[in-house]
Symmetry: C2
Subunit: 333 residues, 2 copies
């Protein structure tokens, strides 16, 4: 296992210390239970957004805490759900009296623990709305999931929902915006190599030197098909066809196109992927009105990529464009 770490058992703790050292202007970090909140939390009268999940997907979610995006993030151990007490503590810390939204990726542990935390918070008088992300079209059920997995659309939801909250919309409205993002977002990923969970010490799965896996999950969960490596034009077509046909996106639609790196794939390749995606969508009569290209929802050092398309209304695009100031995404401020 080749990683820039000390003790595999301390990876999350030391990462959090690094975030705390680096971004004291943006966030505060709490330990035991672990969570990250906006430096100015709680923001009185604003709906607060809380997300979380296993670590290993950085910058998601901790890198998205800040003005115009999340109010708090709860990092679990690597690829392991955070616990209800983390979620409860984070929810209390950011509650500004207007209610709290839990953004939950559809993995069994996350769903169960966020449900429990929401109940605890409600019993203490905090209004909580839960929003599920289940945008991965690759497989119906998966290793840790009943139904579709939650992947790239999460990033878009956290940005757009965060903007809606920032402009003062009410709890139900912000939750509806988040659900609209999920309803209009679709993703699919692929891997060239496996990442290695630090505590496991060996790759999660094995791929031959000439193999790739299409439809992989962000924890290395099996995808649709393992096959020989192909030119990226063919890989992109396989993925984008499923994504576009699933919603379905229609000729004349505007989309936000998100090309995501899995952690070990450099930007030069992501631009080549984006080039293929732009050509593919043009052929389908779909216009890209916004884009995001980079490694925003990763799987440790896995090489590979995912694509996410969000069918975009004017309201969603306006919220996407709104100012955001986080370690991972920043513009307008």
């Amino acid at each position: 296992m080749k990683k820039l770490i000390n003790d595999p058992q301390n990876v999350v703790r030391e990462e959090l210390e690094g975030i705390e050292q680096a971004h004291a202007d943006l966030v505060r970090v709490s330990y035991e239970p672990n969570f990250i909140v906006r430096a100015d939390a709680p923001v009185q009268g604003k709906v607060a957004l809380v997300s979380g999940g296993g670590s290993g997907h950085e910058p998601m979610h901790g890198g998205f805490v800040g003005q115009g995006m999340l109010d708090a993030a709860c990092p679990g151990e690597v690829f392991t759900s955070p616990t209800p007490d983390q979620m409860e503590a984070a929810t209390k810390a950011v509650n500004g009296g207007a209610g709290v939204i839990h953004i939950v990726k559809n993995y069994t542990g996350d769903v169960m623990n966020f449900d429990m935390a929401a109940e605890l918070c409600r019993s203490e008088g905090i209004e909580v709305e839960s929003v599920l992300v289940d945008d991965d079209v690759a497989v119906q059920d998966s290793l840790y999931t009943a139904g579709r997995r939650g992947v790239g659309t999460t990033v878009l939801m956290e940005k757009i929902g965060g903007a809606a909250a920032e402009e003062g919309r009410a709890l139900k409205e912000v939750a509806d915006i988040c659900r609209e993002v999920n309803a209009n977002g679709r993703s699919m990923g692929m891997a060239l190599t496996s990442g290695t969970v630090p505590a496991a010490g060996k790759p999660t799965f094995e791929l031959g030197d000439d193999e790739m896996e299409i439809g992989i999950g962000i924890h290395g969960e099996p995808g649709r098909e393992r096959m020989k490596l192909k030119p990226v034009a063919e890989i992109l077509e396989m993925m984008a066809t499923v994504v576009v046909d699933d919603l379905p996106f229609a000729q004349g639609d505007d989309v936000l196109a998100f090309v995501n790196g899995m952690g070990g794939t450099p930007l030069i390749e992501l631009y080549i992927v984006y080039n293929e995606l732009a050509k593919f969508l043009k052929g389908r009569g779909i216009s890209i009105s916004r884009n995001l290209i980079g490694s925003y929802i990763t799987s440790l050092e896995m090489a590979g990529c995912s694509i996410t398309l969000l069918k975009a209304s004017d309201d969603l695009l306006r919220l996407w464009d709104a100012p955001v100031k986080t370690a991972g995404l920043r513009w307008g401020v």
Copy 2:
């Protein structure tokens, strides 16, 4: 070779097409010769900054073209200097009458070709100042370099020099600011794995499963020492000691600390590196007043990192904080 590409010969061309498709609001891309300019180039009356070098280090340099940073970038083939005609065409395209600065990383091919381009431009009446970056403390001479290599400080110089130009400073002043950045910046890198140049099809160098190389260059040039993998605290101490002692940085200094990923190393590890760097500097009585953490000057999919420290004056920090709007770095707009 596992990469998300089509033909290895077309990697740079297709990457540029991707950038053109993605960032038409920020840049224009020209082909044959290849260069990227700000969408609003030339900006009349503003000193223009041009940089360039081999591709494979993305987002550097093309991702740093835009308001408050570079006016143009010239991408060579992967790990190959761009040609003088690229640099000449880019310089002409961005010349707004106030002169042009060439930011040149200290590699033999880059230096020679930028010199030739500067002569060509001067003979056509364009004032050109060349600024060399040679901040890598690892080795004195290297595979493609007489003297020290230019690495991470380049990113900081492009940001700070770009801000100085944006606020209307004259050619000589902007060049002096850039030289001040180089004089006060020091870097060192290390690798866990090698990247693979697409046209070569195999890794540039081989490292054992338990080995790393300290002092590596961004083209995989040999560093100081190949050794067994160690905990990151020890790795960081080896690198930071050389960096800090070289300038020398002194107790009470303020620095901008830049932890850079080499392309295949995920953000979770970079935050752990940053945590160690913050502890190390605290022990030396050095304060971090700004930081940058991410993969900004890469070496294809190489796993590893580099650290750069810039001894920071108030003027440099103010220029660092100034608005920037590029694909790779953005804040304040």
